[in-house]
């Protein structure tokens, strides 16, 4: 029976046949269909939004299937449970690594510790001139070659070299010196 009487009356006026028929649908809807539909539609709206956005930016990407191409080995699922004791075996590895690091640190301490031991107390208040006398000339020269730029004292400061003019050079040189210069030039 229709809720709207006019529809019922309209059909009755056409034919009494319509009074024998119920206006209900025989089709069945899957359980919970209307409960889940709104969230399904919202997800679809988002999917379409992503598609349309990409269509504007780079449409080619929409033609490529969204599969990563990476594959998990077929046997992986079955092998993984067998390998699960990995966690059990992890701690001995860490213990061995820690022991090795400890040995290396101790070895470094004993080895480099002896080498770097220095009797600073013996030099406190010592006379540098006396100490230098104990060092050989060759050792001092090789030291000065390496550390030349560091050995700068007010007395030893190098004055800027200024080229003398030819006239000044002639006046300041003796005849003997000039003669030696001419000979060496030839």
């Amino acid at each position: 029976m229709h809720q709207d009487k006019t529809i019922h009356e309209e059909l009755e006026a056409l034919s009494p046949f319509w009074t024998t028929i119920q206006s209900q649908m025989p089709y069945i809807v899957p359980a919970n269909y209307f409960e889940t539909l709104p969230s399904i539609v919202r997800a679809k709206v988002e999917t379409e939004a992503v598609y349309e956005e990409l269509e504007l930016i780079a449409p080619l990407l929409n033609t490529i299937p969204k599969q990563t191409g990476y594959q998990i080995p077929v046997s992986q699922d079955k092998v993984m449970p067998v390998n699960t004791p990995v966690k059990m075996l992890a701690w001995p590895k860490f213990a061995v690594a820690a022991a090795l690091i400890g040995i290396m640190v101790l070895a470094n301490y004993f080895y480099t510790g002896k080498k770097e031991s220095f009797d600073y107390a013996a030099y406190i208040g010592a006379d540098p001139a006396q100490i230098i006398q104990t060092i050989s000339d060759s050792t001092l020269l090789s030291y000065m070659d390496v550390h030349e730029k560091l050995i700068v004292t007010p007395d030893a400061a190098i004055e800027e070299y200024v080229l003398e003019s030819d006239d000044a050079l002639m006046q300041n040189s003796s005849d003997q010196e000039l003669l030696e210069y001419i000979q060496s030039s030839n």
Partner: protein, 183 residues
């Protein structure tokens, strides 16, 4: 979201960014069953109906942004559903032609394929009779007979005069009666 909220409140909720989702869900929950049955009566199969209904609701989401309340929300959604359903039927027909299956009664066969179909029951014969009508006439009959839609609303929805709709409905009812009596 309260399903009994009026369309104006639901639309206001949709147009507010903070309540947009709730507004949309409210609209979907309020009209999804009516739209479902409107489509299913035409397409028969649940799977096809589900596909079309989802398309309709996605279009509703997109269209609601620019929806002007010149027409009722309900009429506007029905119009989208009707257009999508008729487009789907046209595609199905073309597919049947390509597969050289145009002689078969496509939707009548779908009614018979329903697991609950029982030709001895009048309500199933009625479905077969409706499926024997042209699509537009089916629409008019379904909207009036099942949805109990007033002619003026149907006129707005189908863009057809009330007189033409009345004539179409009466004609459909007569044909259905004849079909059932001769089955």
């Amino acid at each position: 979201m309260n399903l009994h909220l009026d369309d104006t409140s639901l639309l206001a909720a949709f147009h507010n960014n903070a309540t947009k989702e709730k507004g949309y869900n409210g609209i979907v929950k309020k009209y999804q069953e009516k739209l479902y049955w409107h489509i299913r009566r035409m397409l028969v199969s649940h799977e096809d109906t589900n596909d079309v209904l989802q398309m309709v609701l996605v279009k509703v989401w997109k269209g609601l942004e620019s929806f002007r309340e010149d027409s009722k929300l309900y009429t506007w959604m029905y119009r989208i559903a009707t257009n999508e359903t008729l487009t789907f039927i046209e595609k199905e027909k073309k597919r049947a032609i390509v597969s050289l299956d145009q002689d078969s009664d496509m939707f009548g066969d779908k009614v018979k394929a329903d697991t609950h179909f029982d030709e001895n029951q009048l309500i199933w014969r009625l479905q077969l009779a409706i499926k024997s009508l042209p699509e537009k006439q089916q629409l008019v009959f379904n909207l009036r007979y099942y949805d109990e839609m007033p002619y003026h609303q149907m006129s707005e929805l189908l863009d057809t005069s009330e007189g033409a709709l009345k004539a179409s409905y009466h004609h459909a009812a007569k044909k259905i009666e004849e079909f059932i009596k001769s089955y």
